[in-house]
């Protein structure tokens, strides 16, 4: 398994996709988890734009990625998504908001 820093290419790829994106796909599970955790579209876009790719698995169509980051309120969110090269679009598969741990 590669380290997070090794997913730089996927990060650049994702940022370019988001820059030119005309649409975003939200799978049913993504919509359900967004509702469950109270995560909005603004949060998802913010994390995709500013977060770190912590996992990527490339295939012939694009890549399946996991992005981890914080929204503008500092809440930790991870987004599982799929980048589809042919259509230049991002499909959000699942969203998770992490509970804050108090020291």
């Amino acid at each position: 398994m590669r380290k997070a820093a090794e997913y730089e290419a996927e990060e650049i790829w994702l940022h370019e996709f988001l820059r030119f994106q005309q649409e975003i796909c939200l799978e049913v599970e993504a919509q359900e988890t967004m509702r469950e955790f109270g995560v909005t579209m603004s949060d998802v876009l913010y994390v995709l734009r500013n977060g770190k790719v912590i996992f990527a698995d490339r295939d012939e169509c694009g890549a399946r990625i996991n992005v981890y980051g914080r929204n503008c309120d500092g809440e930790e969110i991870s987004v599982a998504a799929r980048m589809v090269s042919e259509m230049m679009h991002v499909a959000v598969i699942r969203v998770k908001k992490h509970r804050r741990t108090q020291l």
Partner: protein
């Protein structure tokens, strides 16, 4: 988009799609003939929805809400702040209020005063101006508007939007407000 176990994908445009849960808006945002539904042709299982221009959609929802002269509540203030990707402290600084005071506005512990509300509305309009070039925003009108109490309004705020193509050569999609 994951494929259904029985294979294949079909898409169709949804006549009406309530995007308020996805956008996190406390008011209703209904999209007309804009969202594509991905489904399995054999089982009819809906696998997901494709939203066009999500960032512009958020901007349009924020701008149109600021143009409605109805008092903003805490969750609406939060939505407007998040639409600008601002931290609560940063917006408090811009409005020249303390973070504690601003927090009271967002948590509905204190109604926002008309002066700060107009400042907030002005901030939102200026922030989203570039994203919604095809909508005429009268910022002076926003600053001069008479804000009505939500109790005086019979119907809740519902934004009904439909995508419009501006130029055939350069298709620039914009969002048009259908019904106030």
């Amino acid at each position: 988009m994951s494929k259904c176990e029985k294979g294949g994908l079909q898409s169709r445009t949804v006549a009406e799609f309530d995007a308020s849960a996805i956008l996190g808006t406390p008011f209703s945002v209904v999209l007309h003939n804009a969202v594509k539904e991905k489904m399995c042709p054999k089982t009819g299982i809906v696998l997901g929805h494709v939203l066009p221009m999500p960032e512009k959609l958020i901007s349009v929802a924020a701008i149109l809400r600021t143009c409605e002269p109805i008092k903003l509540n805490g969750s609406e203030i939060k939505f407007l702040r998040k639409s600008m990707d601002l931290k609560a402290k940063d917006l408090a600084d811009r409005l020249c209020v303390s973070p504690e005071q601003y927090s009271r506005y967002e948590n509905d512990k204190l109604p926002i005063s008309n002066v700060y509300e107009k400042l907030l509305r002005g901030e939102v309009c200026l922030h989203h101006l570039d994203n919604v070039k095809h909508i005429d925003i009268d910022i002076r009108g926003v600053m001069a508007m008479k804000i009505q109490s939500a109790h005086d309004i019979e119907k809740p705020v519902v934004l009904r939007l439909a995508p419009v193509f501006v130029d055939q050569d350069k298709p620039v999609e914009k969002w048009k407000k259908q019904v106030a």
